[in-house]
Amino acid sequence: MNMSKILLAAPEIWVFLMACIILIVDLFLREERRGIIHLLGMLTLIFAAIITLRADYAEAGLRSASAFGGSFLRDPMGDVLKLFSYLILAFVFIYAKFYLRQFRMFRADFYTLSLFALLGIMLLISANSLIMIYLGLELTSLSSYALVAYDRDSRRGSEAAMKYFVLGSMASGMLLYGMSMIYGATGSLDLNLIGAAVSSAGRDDVMLVFGLVFLVVGLAFKLGAVPFHMWIPDVYHGAPAGITLLIAALPKMAAFAMTFRLLQTGMGSLQEDWGQMLAVLALLSIVLGNVAAIAQSNIKRMLAYSTISHMGFMLLGFLPGTNAGFGAAMYYVIVYSLMTAAAFGMVILLSSRGVEAEELDDFKGLNQRSNWYAAIMAMVMFSMAGVPVFVGFFAKWLVIQAALEAGLVWLALLAVVFSVIGAFYYLRVVKLMYFDDPKTETDINAPVDFRAVLSLNGILMLGLGIFSGSLIAVCMASFGA
């Protein structure tokens, strides 16, 4: 293999090196100079973005390029998702720095683990063989398990980590089992070869269909789609808010990529089968996520159920099996990540003096304490509810369009009705902020970088909505739609 092929994985190599460097540098740093670690982390992301943007294969006029015997694939979809992963992780670093400092947990482990999780996500996004997918998945998952238990003295955190670990391992097992069946049926690990083998084998191959079922179960676990969603509320609730932020916002983009690669690239000719399975998962997630969120009084749990319903909406994009549908799902997952980052950014902002602002009541009267932050949270909530002109609406519109394109009118109707039911709990947050009186009059303090990034994140809700054409075009172009 020549050098230029290895360089396709340059962003991954860079992130890996930097994660190791940060690990070593920390050994020689004194407590008060730990800010350097944060700078190194940001630097890693910025350079990773630059390396990713200088894609040689695109300059050579190719749509995609692969390395490592076809198991690593660079394509526009992967590049866009990676770039957004860097952006989200940069947001996470800045939000989490403030949070971790407040709670005396500001250690370099967070940055190392996060970067390893990012590396796993990047591998997962670019993976084009079963082995690479499993590798990326495990790297992401193991880093996430450790992060959930980051506050090792917290019983709730340890419990959540344990739960996450056991259920996550089970999901990985399912996925692996499915993969082994598919390998048995097709005799290949490369997704392109599997795709070819599957289309010639047809739908009658029992082992193949069985393998597919296990794959879908594993994917549903990772996405958090009902009925495989149980871990989400507990993990979100149990982990420290700064970590929940990362777990909620970042890995979903990789989960999307994994779902696309496995189901479309690998099993594209079985679209009719997995389309039906995903339709059921989507419907259940939308219904249960939206209804259960209404009953929550803890904002982290509320956002957890909201995640479940968002994943249901995202799955709608997979149903027609067209490029426009995949583009819609990709747009949805990017928008979801941006919204979630901003929502947890607000939760972190309101935490003060070692107390997490995790109850909905902590948002009471926010408008009287600060017009600006109340406006940001309101924009995030309206966006999540799918009210135009915020970006969340455009995401919902595209996936509903995809469901209609697939001819599933009843599913589209149910989805919109439940999005109205879901609007209730987002409105409740707005109600608390604007219509109620504050519980405390304490000032909202945060470092300037935190405030700037949170403001940017909030304005993106509006800006990406008003100028929605560009990001939609990018997502559609990634699939050539």
Partner: protein, 514 residues
Amino acid sequence: MESNWPVLSLLIWLPIIGGALVAALGQQKASQARILSLLVSLLTLALSVTLFTDFDRDTAAMQFVERQPWIDAFRIEYFLGVDGFSMPLILLTTFFGVLVVIASWEVIRSRVHQYMASFLVMEGLMVGVFSALDGLLFYVFFEAMLIPMFLVIGMWGGPRRVYATIKFFLYTFLGSVFMLVGLIYLYLQSGSWSIPDWHQLPLGGQAQTWLFLGFLAAFSVKIPMWPVHTWLPDAHVEAPTGGSVILAAIMLKIGGYGFIRFSLPITPDASSQLDWLIIALSLIAVVYIGFVALVQQDMKKLIAYSSISHMGFVTLGLFIAFGIFRNSSDPQGAALGVEGAMVQMISHGFVSGALFLCVGVLYDRLHSRMIRDYGGVANSMPWFAFFAVLFFMANSGLPGTSGFVGEFMVILASFKANFWYAFLTGLNLVLGAAYSLWLVKRVIFGDVGSTEVAELQDINRREALVLTTLAAAVLLVGLWPAPLVDVMHASVAELLVHIQQSKLPVMGAVSAGI
């Protein structure tokens, strides 16, 4: 006609950006916020007048068109334009944009900057609704408008404001998501989001029926029609005066406008088939809700029910056209109905806005909306009594006021469809007079109710300015409706020709179902 400069964009974005600036002023600078809002809304009004003066009355084509690609991947455009239906409604919007700023001048004391900003943003969004010619753009404005109103009712409303505002939001949201599904279906069928393209799109019978029901879900809630009207009395009662005024004067009109822009031209065959449904619901609104209004104890609630009943005239006027076509070859009658509906919308805007302002004047002084708390107000507030009586007369359809013109046109048209329609709507004139005049008797005239009433201050100059302007508008439309009717003639004629042509695929051709 291509315009040289983007009037419509200015009308949309000037108040929105102005609103953002006002909000940025912050809590401390209340008086600056008021002045800036007044300036922005006056400038918007001045700009909108050019729409009226430069409007070409001889064509039904869209005017002041602006067309830019917006979301290219799905051929969605930033496509604006007005015709004879939307232009008067935009003027109504900018007119009330100024009035609510003046009417709330010293009444709103807390968070003035956010109050004024909400109204300015809302004004821009409502102009957007009336001028959008792209389906998705329309939906965006249509929904986004709910947010400022949600905040206005919830932040400055009465004791049950939270219940009322969430009900208002969810009700209208639920209605409009069905329309969204319909709009997406239209895009998938036609490959375009342009509303004028949709007007020409042939559609099968079943598809038309479903689309018609989708539009009905959105617009019947908005206008509102019986039986999905229940959010309106709650929202009106709890909203602050400015909110009630905008809600009654403009937001309800968006429902009527939606029928004109979407239901009738896109699904003419389904409209023709299901016109009995709309007519039945309209007649129930006109008669039954009229009776409901009669028994109200709360002045705002009474006006709210009266609004629903008056909106029944609008839907009736629009949908009797099909009955008239079936009965006779005389298209004049159908035109009378549609024009009557439009005049009724404009007139109801002025009258209901004025009535809510009148109740607001009383509420600011005594903090009660209950009829029983008043009586003999004329003794202490003679000028107020003069205006209030005028507006309540207009509400009951007194000739010479704007209320008469629209109702008379609709009743006249409904004679040509069916005598009983005309009879039942005529009954509303009696009912309207009954609940309006009975209210006047109990509140304005009679013995002085209490010592507080005896000590009431008459309206100040600011209130007099607002009410005089509205009185002039009500009388102008009542005595000389010609300029208003003239601008819509061409558009109405075109619409009526359009809805007579079936859009069903020709028999024998491949049948296109849903």
